[in-house]
Symmetry: C2
Subunit: 439 residues, 2 copies
């Protein structure tokens, strides 16, 4: 038994206290911000019946679903009947089908929860990781699309990630762009995949890629000329107003730009070649890029075809997803070196006879509003050992009361960062702590 591998399973993580505290703090910030925008929390089981999940994520996705063996007499068959949640969208679709009439319309929900994928584990790629989704179902209005963007922006701002850009586009505007440059419909998706790489591979890279994908030389030429312009967005706007679908797409983008106004902590702008996945979205799409960090931290859009999957009808839906694991990593890096705050006070226990007194002191300080640890180790009660423990727990102040102090109605208070200590009258303890701890 002693030889068992004590690591968590490959691709999963244990979170020790400091990390749990930081993650919980971020989750609480996100919840508060979404609620400030009228979104409600939802929670669903970790596993679903197998047939709810299979066939929803393509062949490759199906391979990554963790399947759970049937229990009881059927166990020996090796058959699976359940599977771990793979994302938060399919469970939302099931909830919409199950509770439709009990939910408000539109239904605005967020969910922060782990999902599981049997992916090959790698740097920053886990088999258990959190997703953070916000969605509005049952509304086809641009008001719902804009509300997502405003809420996501506010969440990022609340997390201390101001300085981002929301890049906005629409599937219709992209369809208009394909038409405007005379690209044949069968090359549309392929062309958009190429264009979407502009930020990564530059104009020349895109040109090469489009040629490789079979786009005619004159279309590539026209596109590349515009892609090289400083006023790219204006250039594309000019092209789009020449066709119906392009005009409709631009109107959709402009309506959302008008609604969102100044979003907290960032700015929203039209990103004419940002395509954001191809099969999933049906309307406006957005991507939130943190410029200083040069990374996408959230994304979303309208996907009217998905949520109705269990109802046999389209249900309009629009939403976004925060790259929460990436965001947590950024916050973790930003917090590097600043230890998670520990308890305000450690009450030491100097001898068995003083233990009940220590409990009474700890209770009194908790009632005064402090977080108070009480040294509960056995064996030697050496002060040095207890102070080392206090240091490890990032405790701010140690309260020490040996037999002499108890007899004299006194107490010693040691501020751990400065090392300063004072022995005071017991009755003055709360006032003294208020001075040391700033309240």
């Amino acid at each position: 038994m002693a030889s068992i591998d004590a690591n968590p399973p490959s691709g999963t993580r244990d979170f020790l206290p400091a990390e749990v505290s930081r993650r919980e703090h971020a989750f609480a910030t996100i919840r508060t911000a979404f609620q400030r925008h009228g979104f409600e929390p939802l929670d669903t089981p970790a596993f679903e019946r197998l047939e709810v999940l299979t066939g929803k994520y393509g062949e490759e996705g199906d391979q990554l679903i963790f399947k759970i063996l049937r229990r009881g007499e059927h166990e020996t068959t090796g058959e699976a009947d359940h599977a771990l949640r793979y994302d938060l969208t399919v469970p939302l679709a099931r909830v919409a089908a199950r509770y439709g009439s009990q939910l408000p319309t539109p239904f605005k929900r967020y969910q922060i929860a782990p999902v599981w994928r049997a992916d090959r584990p790698g740097k920053g790629r886990y088999r258990e990781f959190f997703q953070c989704d916000v969605d509005t179902i049952g509304s086809d209005s641009a008001v719902a699309d804009a509300s997502t963007i405003v809420a996501v922006a506010d969440v990022l701002d609340a997390l201390g990630l101001a300085g981002f850009t929301v890049q906005l586009n629409s599937r219709q505007a992209l369809a208009g762009l394909i038409e405007a440059y005379g690209i044949p419909p069968q090359l549309a998706d392929s062309t958009l995949v190429g264009l979407d790489k502009l930020d990564k591979i530059g104009v020349d890279g895109v040109a090469a890629e489009l040629r490789d994908r079979g786009v005619a030389a004159d279309a590539v030429e026209a596109l590349v000329t515009d892609l090289g312009r400083d006023d790219l967005a204006d250039a594309i706007r000019e092209r789009l107003i020449a066709n119906d679908v392009g005009r409709a797409g631009l109107a959709e983008v402009d309506q959302i730009l008008d609604l969102v106004g100044e979003v907290p902590g960032g700015r929203v702008s039209y990103a004419p070649v940002m395509a954001r996945g191809l099969s999933y979205y049906t309307g406006p799409v957005f991507e939130v890029v943190h410029e200083a960090l040069d990374t996408t931290i959230a994304a979303g859009g309208r996907y009217d075809g998905l949520v109705g999957m269990f109802q046999g009808q389209d249900v309009p839906a629009t939403g976004g997803s925060l790259g929460i694991e990436r965001i947590l990593l950024l916050l973790e890096q930003a917090a590097e070196g600043t230890p998670a705050p520990g308890p305000d006070v450690l009450v030491t226990v100097m001898d068995d006879a003083g233990a009940a007194d220590a409990f009474a002191t700890a209770g009194r300080l908790r009632r005064a509003g402090y977080t108070v640890d009480l040294y509960s180790g056995g064996g030697s009660r050496k002060l040095g050992k207890q102070l080392k423990y206090a240091d490890r727990r990032a405790v701010r102040v140690a309260v020490i009361r040996g037999a002499d102090e108890r007899a004299a109605g006194r107490v010693t208070v040691k501020h751990l960062a400065s090392g300063e200590q004072a022995t005071i009258d017991d009755a003055g303890l709360e006032d003294h702590l208020a001075g040391l701890l700033g309240r």
Copy 2:
């Protein structure tokens, strides 16, 4: 596709927004209270390698473990290599083995997390349910045992469940009791199981059960005489001081009673025949009974043999577990009829032209500290529909601004519970809301 069963898997639950809010609120209260006592949060993966879990819960428990199929090329073998977490204790033991030297000694942790068991679902019995554990590992001191009780009591008090009794006993005192009544060692466990039922089946029931279990008539007679006494605890104390192990057990109980003093919201007393499970515990044991509700809401004790399972050595450990699903049910029943609070404000959208104005108003009220929903439905913008939505969301105040009001710099504010409404100058909106919403 439309015909799929949209219910959550048997034995699991979807939590709709009002319920998530209540559960999250309870979890937050518990976290805060445990932290106030110096306990730290820990989080571990939902699944473990199969060999970490098997053989830890007895044959019956092993049958209830949800096993996860190997992925990739091995899938077709029907073999399992992982399994869903069955409790929070085995993962704690693994964490202790893996990170021992990185953790403070003693290590005081709490964990609130779901576990999964393939039990036959029934009323109040789920296949996915939360556990809430608090444990101190690495201390053999009664200070640690008492700290658990004080923290658990404070948590229950913070949850609004005051009026409980902590029934305290110790495995040593129980061993002394067996000796004091001359019960042969091979009948010890069986006798304690019988005695533990006193509250349920009464003195006569216990007598019959002990006779059935083969306890000699004179021992049953002696026990039954004491069990019938009003001063049962004192009677048993008198018996226990006659033998060494009994005296040691009483000393352990009395030391803890001395340390815990007056616990918040309840009282602690010696419960001489409370046995609290047999194989698991090695020292003091406790059970928290809510008297008005006539139910056990928490329990725990010292279990020095378990946490070291992966280290090949005993690691002293003591802790407790809140019956969190039962507690959530009690809180849910208590909250029945009081709807979960919704957003402070709904900003209506009366027409497309007023949508950007509605976003601006919503943003302004969020900055003033209110939670603000904005009606994001498509189709008809009839006020009645929006007010019905507001009612469903338990919104407190609707802010309405049609074209006429916008032109006149006015806004209508409707208090939904009273139905009262007023049209005021836009500039006075925050002041007016402060009056209506009490801040």
